[in-house]
């Protein structure tokens, strides 16, 4: 995580290239997301899933090119912490949706949509 920003000698053109590649990929993925949300060419029910995949891909790009999370050995602690964080995020979001979805399907009063 600290690699590219720590070492002064590395800060030259290679650091700039990393940020620029990251920006280009992020712009590409963002533009694709906005296109996917607005086009009529794609199958409607698949759009939400497509947007989720594009968002996760872009978060990965930001982690690697902007936050410099890598698989290098000196980065193991950062990656392990990230993995644990993602596990908690997954449990919170998926658990809440699962339980609350179950709950509302068992309540005949509530029929939003």
């Amino acid at each position: 995580m600290t690699e590219a920003t720590t070492e002064a000698p590395e800060g030259g053109s290679s650091g700039l290239a990393v940020y620029t590649i990251g920006l280009a990929l992020a712009v590409l993925l963002t533009a694709t997301s906005f296109w996917v949300a607005n086009t009529s060419l794609l199958w409607g029910p698949g759009i939400a899933l497509g947007l989720a995949v594009l968002a996760i891909a872009q978060m990965g790009v930001h982690l690697v090119f902007f936050l410099h999370i890598t698989t290098a050995p000196d980065n193991t602690n950062n990656v392990l912490a990230l993995a644990f964080g993602l596990l908690v995020v997954f449990l919170v979001v998926a658990g809440a949706l699962w339980i609350m979805g179950d709950l509302s399907s068992m309540m005949p009063m509530h029929h939003h949509h």
Partner: protein, 210 residues
């Protein structure tokens, strides 16, 4: 098993670098600690996202997202924040090679782009309130203002922090302690952009797509 082996491999290096006690190991420890804080912040946002996803259809007869959100505005906000993440990266590079002029230029650009994002968000909120879509009008809007407003508050704090960092560089120069704070700031700013990616995808784009 693999994980255990990895930790055992890393531990001796970490110990030896702590024993050397130069500025570099401290920088790594500070970065790691701040990374843990950022992950806890992301977990908090996950809870807000979960609340939003559960409540998104609970509009209580009021307006839904598709009637409220302006995609053009969101696209400009996204561009501002993404470019400010890039200029923040350039700021880190300038700081690590101790180029003052480039540092100030990148810091000011980062600030202006972040402030533009915030202005657009405040204008969007004000427009919604004028149209009667207040946080009190439905569970959906409560969740929306909490989630997006919390990100906006983070950006506000980030802008204040950036001003403090510019003042510190002006007063103290690129000394090690200032460098560590700049590292934490850049991690914070990039993490906010990551949260915004989830926000514009889940709240705005999924909200307006049919």
């Amino acid at each position: 098993m693999n994980i255990a082996v990895e930790i055992r491999d890393v531990a001796p290096q970490a110990l030896s670098s702590v024993a050397n006690a130069g500025p570099a190991p401290k920088r790594i420890v500070v970065g790691y600690g701040f990374w843990i804080f950022l992950l806890s912040d992301i977990v908090m946002f996950a809870a807000l996202f979960a609340a939003y996803a559960v409540l998104v259809n609970a509009t209580a007869g009021g307006p839904a997202g598709s009637q409220l959100f302006d995609q053009r505005n969101v696209a400009i906000e996204t561009a501002c924040l993404l470019l400010s993440s890039y200029t923040c990266g350039l700021m880190s590079l300038a700081a690590s090679s101790r180029r003052r002029g480039a540092f100030y230029l990148a810091a000011v650009l980062t600030f202006v782009l972040g402030a533009a994002f915030l202005a657009l968000e405040i204008r969007e909120f004000a427009d919604m309130v004028v149209r009667g879509a207040t946080p009190q009008s439905s569970a959906f809007l409560s969740a929306f203002f909490t989630l997006v407003g919390c990100h906006g508050l983070h950006v506000t704090v980030g802008l204040l922090w950036l001003v403090v960092m510019m003042a510190q560089v002006a007063a103290k120069g690129f000394r090690a302690s200032v460098g560590r704070r700049l590292l934490c700031f850049s991690l914070f700013w990039h993490a906010l952009d990551i949260i915004w990616v989830a926000l514009f995808s889940v709240v705005y784009l999924m909200g307006v797509s049919p």
